[in-house]
């Protein structure tokens, strides 16, 4: 496998369940070590960079993160400052500022003193994104950040992330389940199957019926969303024979 992630862009990894999307993301984040091969971060082999220095350059939001019971929003977001602290350099006003900025961007500042358990799923996920933002890393990796969220919340969250890339010039790498959400927001789309990259490139080049058939074994039609001009896939929901039995459809 050979993969280059574009700086200052949104790269989205898609693929069927169990194809190694999360594994790839965790390997990029140095949470897992590759059996062979290297991950190069800004020209340096990530395995030879100190754990804390990696955490200053690269943040990861794992899938379904665990929130300790009773932790407040501000306490959670503050954990993102850990890589910038040491025994001698404890909490500073720069840390405080980073935490507030992150909470503002993720729009959770109004909850800062509330326990996370009291928030809704979408609000919680925004708190976690604020935690990763407080880390102030150039690279932000997210593993299925929209799973289990309502459609509106998913879209809001993706807009928030897209803004991060545009305004704050961060580099985003994301694993997503929803193909259309991926097609709508990705600059670079990476299609994975059985641990191998099948297709990789700009959405308009790789997001087509043939590629989706080869990666997901799913028959789809691709249409263009008139509003965003992005491709949208429509799966063939019923086999032709079933449709034929119900002429009304």
């Amino acid at each position: 496998m050979n993969l280059a992630i574009a700086d200052g862009k949104t790269s989205i990894i898609i693929g069927a369940n169990g194809c190694g999307k999360s594994t790839l993301l965790k390997t990029i984040a140095r949470v897992l070590l590759p059996a062979s091969g290297d991950v190069i971060l800004d020209g340096e082999n990530i395995a030879s960079i100190k754990t804390k220095h990696v955490a200053q350059k690269l943040g990861l939001l794992p899938q379904g993160p665990i929130t300790p019971e009773g932790l407040t929003v501000k306490e959670l977001v503050s954990q993102g400052r850990y890589p910038h602290q040491s025994f001698l350099r404890q909490w500073t006003s720069a840390d405080e500022a980073a935490v507030y900025e992150a909470m503002q961007i993720a729009d959770v500042a109004q909850f800062s003193e509330l326990p996370i358990d009291d928030l809704s799923g979408g609000q919680r996920q925004r708190c976690w994104i604020a935690m990763v933002l407080a880390q102030q890393t150039n690279f932000i990796l997210l593993d299925e950040p929209t799973t289990f969220l309502d459609l509106k919340v998913q879209v809001d969250l993706m807009r928030l992330l897209a803004e991060l890339v545009q305004k704050n010039n961060r580099t985003l790498v994301m694993v997503l389940h929803d193909l259309n959400l991926a097609a709508a927001f990705a600059d670079q789309l990476i299609m994975l199957k059985d641990g191998k990259i099948m297709h990789n490139g700009p959405v308009e080049n790789v997001f087509n019926a043939a590629n989706i058939k080869s990666v997901f074994n799913l028959d789809v039609d691709i249409i263009i969303d008139p509003r965003s001009k992005r491709p949208v896939c429509l799966p063939h929901l019923r086999s032709a024979s079933v449709c034929a039995l119900e002429p009304a459809l």
């Binding site: 965790k26 955490a55 850990y82």
Partner: protein, 337 residues
């Protein structure tokens, strides 16, 4: 860019900490004052500041009550902190030295050392207990690892219960087959603060202090571990090394406690919950608050244990469960409401 420090003192949890310190000091004095003969605070102060070896009351304070109160504080703090660390690391609200088998392991090792080899010097008992606690911990981890699903909170709890029950049964077997030798041990096995002097405490206290200090220094990383291994790693924590350090901490705290007073359950299970009830889940607060609450709780329990059916005494281990269990149930109810 160093921010002005006093933020700490304005933190709402700092008030909890300050309040608990005062409660702890008050309970300490109460513990010293109450007993077969009640002593006034003034007399206690005289005994400590200008000790007179001819004064019987002074001897009682120095040889009986002071060691006992100090042991209540150190053991209460140790077991509570050990439980708090375990609950944070395993993300299991039931984790504690008692449930995960460490207490039984430590007690078992001491029983074997004393019953078979006649070793009872406080120089060795903490290490023997540590050996037993580590052995039990490893056994629990291996059993949980072999079970379907691996090292989950669920499997660890079940394995801990099984190992505890097994070791407790063997201890009982020893006890029944050898009643004379185990006469002295019987009281210790139910958790007793009586019968220790300052020498015993001073040989064990340095290890406890060291472990408590380590726990305080690692506290911020426990919060990260409680957020899951992947999050902790991605934030720059060396999780394997940290878990080993914390495990060592827990084993030392448990072993020293068992060496001092025998297996006292419940503190390690209940106190961390009470602490989080007050200060949330940031372990920089949970650890010191647990230490203070544990100390307060054991001071109170031991005072009651000596008073309620005096001149007889309830063993502290039994009393702590009798008092601890209703508190636990009450907390669960409050939480559900």
């Amino acid at each position: 860019m160093q921010s002005p420090k006093p933020a700490f003192f304005y933190h709402k949890n700092a008030r909890v900490l300050g309040g608990l310190l005062m409660v702890c000091a008050a309970l300490f004095l109460l513990h010293l004052a109450i007993g077969a003969k009640a002593l006034s605070i003034g007399e206690i102060w005289l005994a400590i500041s200008v000790f007179n070896s001819n004064n019987f009351d002074h001897m009682v304070v120095w040889n009986v009550r002071l060691p006992r109160a100090l042991i209540a504080i150190t053991v209460g703090a140790s077991l509570a902190v050990a439980g708090a660390i375990m609950q944070g690391v395993t993300k299991n609200p039931l984790a504690s030295p008692s449930i995960l088998g460490l207490l039984s392991g430590a007690a078992f090792a001491i029983v074997v050392a004393l019953g078979w080899f006649g070793i009872d010097s406080p120089l060795y008992t903490p290490w023997i207990a540590a050996l037993g606690a580590s052995g039990a911990a490893i056994m629990v981890a291996l059993i949980a690892h072999a079970a379907p699903g691996g090292l989950t909170a669920h499997n660890l709890t079940l394995a801990g219960a099984a190992v505890s029950a097994f070791l407790a049964a063997i201890i009982t077997l020893f006890q029944l087959s050898n009643e004379d030798d185990f006469d002295d041990l019987r009281e210790w096995l139910s958790g007793s603060l009586a019968g220790n002097n300052l020498d015993v405490l001073s040989s064990i206290a340095p290890w406890i202090c060291l472990s408590l200090l380590a726990a305080l220094l690692l506290a911020n990383k426990i919060t990260l571990l409680a957020m899951g291994d992947e999050t902790a790693k991605s934030l720059g924590v060396k999780t394997t090394r940290l878990k080993l350090q914390l495990m060592l901490c827990v084993i030392m705290l448990t072993a020293c406690s068992v060496a001092l007073v025998g297996p006292v359950g419940f503190i390690g299970l209940v106190i961390p919950h009470v602490s989080r009830f007050f200060v949330g889940a940031d372990y920089r607060w949970v650890i010191p608050i647990s230490a203070l609450l544990g100390a307060c709780f054991l001071l109170l329990v031991d005072t009651l244990a000596r008073v309620v059916i005096s001149p007889a005494e309830v063993s502290t281990g039994i009393a702590s469960a009798i008092i601890g269990a209703p508190i636990f149930v009450y907390l669960i109810k409050v939480k559900l409401d």
